[in-house]
Symmetry: C2
Subunit: 256 residues, 2 copies
């Protein structure tokens, strides 16, 4: 969901007002009129929808620079809340439309932003059809790529409940799966809100990486380029960071 504001138009920077929200405060209510769009200035935000049995489905997480609230209808389907304390720039769509008529490129970018959000939603659909462990792994990779100071570190501003609601799991399953990944040596949990990957693929020789590629994709990489593209893809990252770790099960690592 890293739809960057600057991809829309520089003048968006001067549009609208900035509001501050404390953690857990509502930014958009379900069924609010969808006449504004929102940019995260600082902090973390999520969109969600309540399901009737008291469960909720999180639609996405948004961090500094991300745009949210892009919806088609008259009213929002998804509500939004601040996960941490957050600053948000709010602009009326009307003002954006005025911008669009002056600048054809803005319309073009709005289309590509929406198309990108669509692609992300498609990814979320694929995510939800996988096992609990796969969902967690893909989630960690997404967070490490979007919201982390270094690529092997994962900052998690959200609670286990948020993660569970995003992945369609329970918080207990999230907790257990994370601990299992730690036990198997793939990650290191540092307090509630920080996780580190352990086995970066660079620790292994290049042949081992090629073996892994062949094992997962079923064919040899045709070029060095194909191999390195695959390595940085979510699938490649998952394979290198997690599968190698799970090949060498180190038995039970005592926790304390």
């Amino acid at each position: 969901m890293s739809i960057q504001a600057q991809s829309l138009d520089p003048s968006f920077q001067h549009l609208g007002v900035v509001k501050s929200y404390a953690s857990k405060n509502e930014i958009i209510g379900e069924d609010d009129p969808a006449d504004r769009i929102y940019e995260v200035i600082s902090g973390a935000v999520c969109t969600y929808r309540m399901l009737k049995e008291g469960r909720r489905q999180i639609g996405g997480f948004y961090f500094s620079g991300d745009i949210f609230g892009l919806e088609a209808g008259e009213k929002h389907i998804l509500a939004a809340e601040a996960i941490t304390s957050a600053k948000v720039r709010i602009a009326k769509k009307q003002a954006l439309n005025a911008l669009m008529s002056r600048n054809a490129k803005v319309a073009d970018r709005l289309l590509s932003m929406t198309a990108r959000e669509l692609a992300r939603k498609q990814d979320q659909v694929l995510l939800l059809s996988r096992s609990a462990e796969d969902r967690i792994i893909y989630f960690l990779i997404e967070m490490s790529q979007r919201n982390s100071p270094k690529k092997y570190l994962i900052a998690l501003p959200m609670t286990r409940q948020h993660i569970a609601d995003y992945l369609g799991l329970t918080l207990e399953t999230v907790s257990r799966t994370l601990w299992d990944l730690e036990r198997r040596g793939a990650i290191e949990i540092e307090g509630y809100r920080r996780i580190a990957f352990r086995n970066q693929y660079t620790n292994d020789g290049p042949e081992k990486v090629v073996d892994l590629f062949v094992g997962i994709t079923g064919h040899r990489p045709k070029s060095q380029q194909e191999l390195s593209d695959w390595l940085i893809s979510p699938e490649g990252t998952a394979a290198t960071v997690f599968k190698i770790a799970s090949f060498s099960r180190w038995g039970d690592r005592a926790r304390s």
Copy 2:
């Protein structure tokens, strides 16, 4: 996914070529260049992506008048195949772009079509976070609203496997859940590809419907309009057709 072709532009009708595909034939391959868009003229089509364990996730079903292949990137993430024999109009995006520069409204409509597809994907995400029975119920309602001659009849051109792949279930679970709904008197299965709803809400008195509304939504309808809007919504349809039926469990209805 009923994005109607005529909502794009009348001149789209004359764009591109029409091709015929036999059942099970590939229309778009995964990783094909995404330089065309497709309109179903007749028959049924689905988009999908293979997951590595031999499973697949269906992205959506498309019937006569629907547009598919709307994707952002250079290459398609989702492949497409004909479910029945199908006729498809194929137009180059390039030609569409030419249309867009002549007619600003076309760009606007392309945006709203994409936004609508996004809303549908969001719905699919919500669908996938529900129980097997709920998924089936919402699926049946979607099909009855999109692809059926009469509102109480549901035409299912796809196999149980297609349904399972769309809903993230196995074909056995789909089969069992349908049979359970039939046993409870909510639907009637007529051969493999036809289903009929049994308990239309119109069979019950108006107070019963209001009771149901209050039971599900937690508040009284403020107006007749609110009640009838809710009744035709998927949630209202599910409640009226299925919940009433499940209130009165008729025990085992022998099958033959």
